[in-house]
């Protein structure tokens, strides 16, 4: 079997190593009983038999790149906390809401104990006195599964006071959000956890490691990042880095959605699996639906600049994808076939970011709203060529200088690499512009036709 009734979207065809999804094929994967029967909490025992510094070194040695979007190595991030400042906190980022992203919800629903064990390993390694597990509000099943798992784990002695009879004691408090995409940004997450509006904090400091929750040193890690830790403790960093590449070791969960034959969530080998493998491979999405042609794809969540068929052979590797003009972000690929109305597709993303702006920065609040309005006008067939210029102007006010984009031989364009400059506190502002910029740069003819002919086409054209 390759897909499972209880794991909507997850597909494990082929012979791929499994680090975080190894229990997804089991219907009762989320229970303590099954977790223990499949090696659960053994990694914690291994960890507790070693010193915290040794555990930290093991994680550092594995170079687990953060899976929340920024790709910063977890072990290195933990090392950024100032010495001698206590208490320190861990905030688990389970706010998954970047367009196209679908993996953390599965990890919380299907293997909550793995996440709990990973969080405990982190807490032990760097002396985190309390863990807050922040789950997105619109995920009641994840909440129920994690709550049940925590309740079981407390009673069984894996969480709380004197864990497994040692002097390691830590509470994991389940917390949840109430619907606001920007809260996924780590400093906004902290504000929200303090009971405030979820507005990102001014940078610097760039990481909350020094000044985080209640002004104390705080580690924020993504659900998938932490879910890797039990495997790493059980099998060792050396085994972990044998999978994937030197710069991108291990595996990654990737959701591929949109116009493919078989959309799915896959655990892939990091660094080597290409976009072509993912979109066309038999073990993955099996090509574009109905034998259609690929028009474009978003390689790393709604915030990422778009790619076309020219970038299909790039592997899932951050540096290469960055040089090619985009980013891997949160492991989310959205595929558009040749029937897609590009301006309308871009609008579905720009509308998202405009809607999710917290309003602190003028270029994001005003710029996002205007981008949405002007693009809507163009999509509705009421736009003019001045509107196209205006969208670029608004974009420049959010991101001065050249915005990253992919190469396009059709238009004689070389790639402009990541990242961009920005006038905003966080990436929501630039993300509102990214789809507009990609669409205008890679498919100028569709906009030209739209403002010339002023016709109206539905978002999804005929199949």
């Amino acid at each position: 079997m390759s897909s499972y009734r209880w794991a909507a979207g997850y597909i494990d065809d082929g012979d791929r190593p499994k680090i975080v999804t190894s229990r997804f094929h089991l219907e009762d994967s989320y229970t303590l009983e099954r977790y223990l029967a499949t090696g659960g909490y053994q990694a914690l025992r291994h960890a507790l038999a070693r010193t915290p510094a040794e555990v930290h070194d093991e994680v550092r040695g594995a170079t687990v790149l953060g899976r929340g979007g920024a790709g910063f190595p977890a072990g290195t991030k933990w090392g950024l906390m100032p010495a001698d400042k206590y208490p320190r906190y861990l905030v688990v980022n389970g706010d998954e809401s970047e367009p196209g992203t679908y993996k953390d919800r599965l990890l919380m629903e299907l293997d909550p104990h793995q996440l709990i064990e990973g969080s405990l390993i982190a807490a032990y390694a760097v002396g985190l006195a309390q863990v807050f597990l922040y789950i997105r509000g619109e995920m009641p099943l994840a909440h129920e599964r994690v709550a049940t798992a925590l309740n079981e784990a407390y009673v069984a002695g894996y969480v709380g006071k004197n864990i497994l009879g040692t002097d390691f004691s830590v509470d994991i408090v389940l917390h949840w959000g109430a619907g606001a995409y920007v809260v996924g940004e780590e400093t906004a997450l902290i504000e929200s956890l303090e009971g405030k509006r979820g507005e990102p904090r001014l940078k610097p400091p760039y990481f909350p490691a020094a000044i985080g929750l209640y002004g104390q040193p705080t580690i924020v890690n993504n659900v998938e990042t932490l879910s890797n830790l039990p495997w790493i403790m059980a099998n060792g960093a050396a085994e972990y880095v044998r999978i994937g590449t030197e710069t991108s070791p291990g595996t990654r969960m990737v959701a591929v959605s949109g116009h493919v034959e078989r959309p799915g969530v896959f655990e892939i080998v990091n660094g080597t699996t290409t976009f072509r493998d993912l979109i066309y491979g038999d073990d993955f999405c099996r090509g574009i639906r109905n034998g259609n042609q690929l028009k474009a794809f978003v390689p790393g969540g709604g915030s990422a600049p778009w790619f076309t068929a020219e970038q299909l052979d790039l592997p899932f590797e951050g540096k290469l994808v960055g040089a090619a003009g985009s980013m891997l972000g949160s492991g989310a690929i959205m595929v558009m076939d040749h029937t897609t109305d590009i301006p309308a597709a871009a609008l579905t993303l720009t509308r998202f970011y405009a809607h999710e702006s917290c309003g602190q920065c003028t270029p994001c609040r005003e710029g996002g709203t205007w981008l949405e309005r002007v693009l809507q006008r163009v999509v509705d067939g009421r736009g003019t060529s001045a509107d196209l210029a205006q969208m670029k102007e608004i974009g420049t006010s959010i991101c001065p200088g050249e915005f990253p984009h992919a190469s396009s031989s059709r238009h004689g364009l070389d790639a402009t690499p990541f990242p961009y400059k920005m006038t905003t506190i966080c990436f929501v502002g630039p993300s509102a512009y990214a789809p507009v910029h990609s669409a205008l740069t890679l498919f100028p003819e569709e906009f030209a036709a739209r403002v010339r002919d002023r016709v109206q086409i539905p978002v999804t054209a005929v199949q």
Binding site: E138, A147, Y154, V459
Partner: protein
């Protein structure tokens, strides 16, 4: 309309006790208030403010930031249809149009019988299962017009009462920390390194 009832007040105090600062419990308590009433009333928010040591304006300021908090009554079932890219590519515009027709309300509207409120929502972390919607935040994957009609029928007739509680109730399982196992909140004035961290290893 109402402050917390006795059971919820006990629960609220238990939740507050898990955080180093009471105000951190604001959002969980607002959810609890919404569970009790279906939406947030001024009185409920004032009670939350009292409990977490904030002003009612501060609590309203927080609550109004978040999509899930409703300040007016909504239907027993809140239907959120995703309109972000993957779902749009999968036909969510058509689903939304169908929903408007079947329910006889526009986006944002509530049916006259008070059963359904229809909203257009953003990405629901189910992108491979487009088009998606949620009923009281329970995911419904790969929706079709037929599935939608059946769901509405089932909800009307109470056949889904077992798995979809009325709006306001999110998870039906709550975290319970047994008193004898609880460490308690990591107090801000406790400046020492945790017991298991040898002093020489401070800073990692």
């Amino acid at each position: 309309m109402s402050r917390f009832n006795d059971d919820n007040l006990r629960l609220a105090k238990e939740i507050i006790g898990r955080y180093p600062k009471a105000r951190s419990a604001t959002i969980p308590l607002l959810h609890l208030a919404q569970q009790q009433e279906g939406h947030l009333s001024d009185e409920a928010m004032a009670h939350v403010a009292e409990l977490v040591g904030a002003t009612p304006a501060e609590v309203l300021g927080t609550a109004s930031f978040y999509e899930m908090f409703k300040f007016e009554p909504v239907g027993r079932y809140l239907i959120n249809i995703c309109g972000t890219m993957s779902c749009a590519l999968g036909g969510s515009d058509e689903l939304l149009a169908h929903a408007e027709k079947v329910l006889g309300v526009k986006v944002g509207g509530t049916t006259a019988d008070g059963l359904f409120t229809l909203e257009r929502a953003e990405c629901q972390a189910a992108c491979t299962e487009a088009p998606n919607m949620q009923v009281n935040y329970r995911h419904c994957h790969r929706m079709t017009n037929e599935l939608f009609d059946r769901l509405v029928d089932d909800l009307r007739s109470g056949r889904r009462d077992g798995d979809i509680p009325a709006h306001g109730t999110l998870a039906r399982v709550r975290q319970q920390i047994p008193a004898e196992r609880a460490v308690g909140p990591a107090a801000l004035d406790d400046r020492g390194a945790p017991a298991w961290l040898p002093a020489k290893e401070v800073g990692g």
